[in-house]
């Protein structure tokens, strides 16, 4: 058993290796690339399963393997991996959902020129995500966090010839970067206060009591800074703007990254460092957790409202993801860590299912994505319809058979008991209704009604694409087995509580409330949109019923509440101005200084040259001339005339004589 713990690093390493191997293939080898990627993913799945087994045996299982990366002076930078229930379930979910999506992609991306590159990136992402989940060090988690962000950037902008895709990739990267900066600051602060970034280290880790004790009052700030990273990655308000734009990437990418796994990383992070968030909790409430709750609530409600007015099949699902992530954050914030994680796992399955279903629809309608141009696909694409319906019911929260219902129930339960306020609970109830409403709208538009433009030549997708849909749908249903309150095995597994089989707990008043709400939402949706896509009294065929009824509200929601425009006017405009100011400064001011120094040097050189030309050279020349003249002068004394010499001697003698005579 300890073999798997010692070799836990294999789980992310195998997909990474597969990615490298795929990159070395030439561009035409589609089959080889797909085979390598899927093989890597299957290997990771098998290894995750083996990792899962030991965690079942002991309650409160936690195995840690730390190593030193490098030392500098007295300090050592240590990394490691951890295996505990949280990590184990995430591993299983990621590998399983990933495998389904990989298989789906072989059908969806058929005929794409860059097939090989796609699978390389997918494997790379898979490895990074798995690494993130098992890391025992906040630094290692951050490294994998950034790698996952990189994979997301590469995959969103996969179709490089599309400028909209490139812009969306850039937006995603920059927006998450803003969150990551907060994350990094929190990381540094944590390291500074507690001296270690390892989560569990035999009692010295930063999440263990000794480490937590060193944080003191800074725990709230550190928690909030780390939460910034989660806000960016999980698309919470105000950094949610990148997620809908990320739909520019291929649909399998949307399914894997922006539904099931990467966006879940933010929620996972909060769950991982929960002890920091909950340090010093009174009644389970701290300031940082309160912030988490309110941001989550805002996000959930806002995204659900916007989803009602969207026309792109993937955008609706994107906003739905944002809304569900908000829901998970709320759950974590009010103290229901296990509930939030359970919803995360369930959401991973059914959101991937929904996205893959959307992908199937898009593929069948020959890459049409506007739901107003689809319709009546129920008969033409039965398997897709059935699986999509299962997913929709799971998402809406239909209880009993569908996993989403149980987990949402759990979340509402814990939110209702939140001490500071009941408001989140009411907002979440509204969110439940809205979720059912927009999903019903989407299903009616796409699968019911008359066939519209794109659905004329629609056909069912091939088996390679429908099989994963069926698998995921089955998971969505079967998962609920471990989620029911009758046998809360997963809850017990995650929270170390024993779980007993009790059918009585199936009957609860809260359960009825949610049933009523979901039913109301579905009914409202059917009533509002039953004639969608067709002419109805004064409303023309292609106008949305809500748009007809409340045009201003619809416009507001359709334009994503103008948040992108707000950012463009403020943050981006400011950034532009700073960039232009810096450019001007560089071009004129600093360049001017440098040029000035250069000019001074040049002037000095000219000056020196002129001094040399006009001053020194003539001086030297004159000196030579003078010396020559003097020489000529002196040589005149050598006349060669003996009598002249004699005369001079006589004069000299006379002078000497006179001098001595005068002295005497």
């Amino acid at each position: 058993m300890s073999w798997i713990i010692d070799h836990l690093w294999l789980i992310p390493a195998v997909p990474f290796a597969a990615s490298l191997a795929i990159l070395s293939l030439p561009n035409g080898r589609h089959r080889g690339a797909a085979a390598l990627a899927i093989a890597g993913q299957i290997a990771a799945l098998v290894l995750s399963f083996f990792a899962f087994l030991p965690t079942l045996q002991v309650s409160g299982f936690r195995a840690v393997q730390n190593f030193t990366w490098f030392t500098f002076g007295d300090h050592a930078l240590r990394l490691g991996w951890v295996l505990d229930p949280l990590a184990a379930v995430m591993l299983t979910m990621i590998t399983l959902v990933g495998l389904c999506i990989f298989i789906f992609s072989t059908g969806y991306m058929i005929g794409d020129k860059n097939f090989v590159r796609f699978f390389a990136y997918l494997s790379f992402f898979s490895g990074a995500m798995l690494g993130l989940v098992i890391s025992n060090s906040l630094l290692l988690l951050f490294i994998c966090w950034e790698l996952v962000g990189l994979a997301s950037y590469l995959l969103i902008g996969f179709w490089i010839e599309r400028p909209s895709a490139a812009a969306a990739a850039k937006k995603a990267f920059i927006t998450t970067r803003i969150g990551d900066m907060g994350f990094f600051l929190g990381l540094l602060w944590l390291y500074g206060r507690s001296g270690t970034l390892l989560f569990y280290d035999g009692g010295n880790g930063c999440l263990e009591s000794a480490g937590l004790a060193m944080l003191g009052a800074s725990a709230m700030s550190i928690a909030l800074l780390i939460f910034c990273g989660a806000v960016g990655k999980s698309g919470q308000f105000p950094l949610h703007v990148w997620l809908p734009d990320a739909m520019e990437g291929p649909t399998p990418v949307s399914a894997l990254i922006h539904a099931a796994t990467m966006v879940a990383a933010g929620v996972f992070l909060v769950a991982r460092v929960y002890p920091i968030f909950s340090l010093g909790a009174i009644d389970g409430v701290t300031s940082s957790l309160t912030v988490v709750v309110w941001i989550g609530v805002t996000t959930a409600l806002m995204a659900a409202l916007i989803a009602i007015a969207q026309a792109d099949i993937k955008r609706i699902l994107a906003y739905s993801t944002v809304s569900q992530l908000g829901l998970m954050m709320v759950s974590l914030g009010v103290g229901g860590v296990a509930a939030g994680m359970m919803h995360l796992l369930a959401h991973g399955f059914f959101k991937a299912l929904l996205f893959l279903g959307a992908g199937s629809v898009i593929h069948g309608c020959h890459h049409e994505q506007d739901i107003r141009k689809m319709g009546g696909l129920r008969r033409l694409m039965p398997v897709t319809f059935l699986t999509y319906a299962i997913g929709m019911m799971a998402l809406s929260g239909v209880p009993l058979f569908f996993s989403g219902g149980w987990t949402k129930e759990e979340i509402l339960h814990v939110t209702a008991h939140w001490a500071p306020s009941r408001l989140p609970y009411y907002f979440l109830l509204a969110g439940v209704v809205l979720t059912a409403l927009y999903m019903t709208r989407q299903i009616i538009y796409v699968f019911f009604g008359n066939r519209r433009a794109a659905s004329e030549h629609a056909h069912e997708s091939p088996r390679v694409m429908t099989m994963p849909l069926i698998v995921l749908a089955s998971c969505a249903i079967l998962f609920s087995v471990v989620l029911t309150p009758a046998w809360p095995w997963l809850h017990g597994y995650l929270t170390d509580e024993p779980a007993h089989l009790e059918f009585a707990r199936l009957i609860q008043p809260a359960l009825f409330l949610s049933l009523v709400l979901v039913g109301a939402g579905v009914a409202l949706g059917i009533w509002m949109y039953r004639k969608a896509g067709t002419q109805d009294r004064q409303r023309p065929a292609d106008t949305d019923p809500l748009e007809f009824a409340q045009p201003q509200l619809f416009r507001f929601l359709e334009n994503k509440m103008w948040i992108d425009e707000l950012y463009a006017r403020t943050v981006i405009a400011f950034s532009w101005m700073s960039a232009r100011l810096s450019d001007w400064m560089d071009r004129h001011f600093w360049d001017g200084l440098v040029r000035g120094v250069g000019t001074m040097g040049r002037l000095f050189g000219t000056f020196t040259a002129s001094v040399d030309e006009r001053g020194i050279n003539p001086g030297v020349d004159e000196t030579t001339v003078g010396t020559r003249g003097l020489g000529r002068l002196m040589s005149a004394a050598h006349s060669g005339q003996i009598q002249t010499y004699l005369g001079i001697i006589a004069i000299g003698a006379l002078a000497l004589l006179l001098f001595y005579a005068w002295l005497a």
Binding site: A650, L654, A661, A664
Partner: protein, 160 residues
Amino acid sequence: MSSIAFVLIAVLTLAAALAAATLQKLMHATLSFALTFVGVAALFFLLGAEFVGLALIFVYIGAVAVLVVFTILLTRRDVEKDRGANWGGTFLAVAMFGGLTWAILKTQSVAIAAPHIRALTVRRIGETLMTSYVWPLQCIGLLLTAALIGALVLVMEEKR
């Protein structure tokens, strides 16, 4: 000593010297030169240095003047006559005489009369030469030898 004799001899000497310096004809000038030394020798006699006077006559008039005559005769082709004094030389000579005279007149210590002396005998000269001045005597001998050889070498015809 007699002053009249002195004056006469001095005048003779100086006149002859001037003649030697200014006469144009070479032979005449040479003979005046010889006469000058006759006068100088006479002055020496007056001053009591007879031996030196005689030596002067032997050497200067007997040897040097004759040598000069020979040389003039041997180098006759160029000129018969020579120019006299020129302005620069005259001026310088006069200036020299003036300076010397001034120096002499200025010095009081030389305004003395001749003291009585013992006559200087040749014997004494000989004795002095051989005892106190024997080294200079030998050097002079060497010098004369060298001069002799040198003169011979200088005028020797080159071997063709």
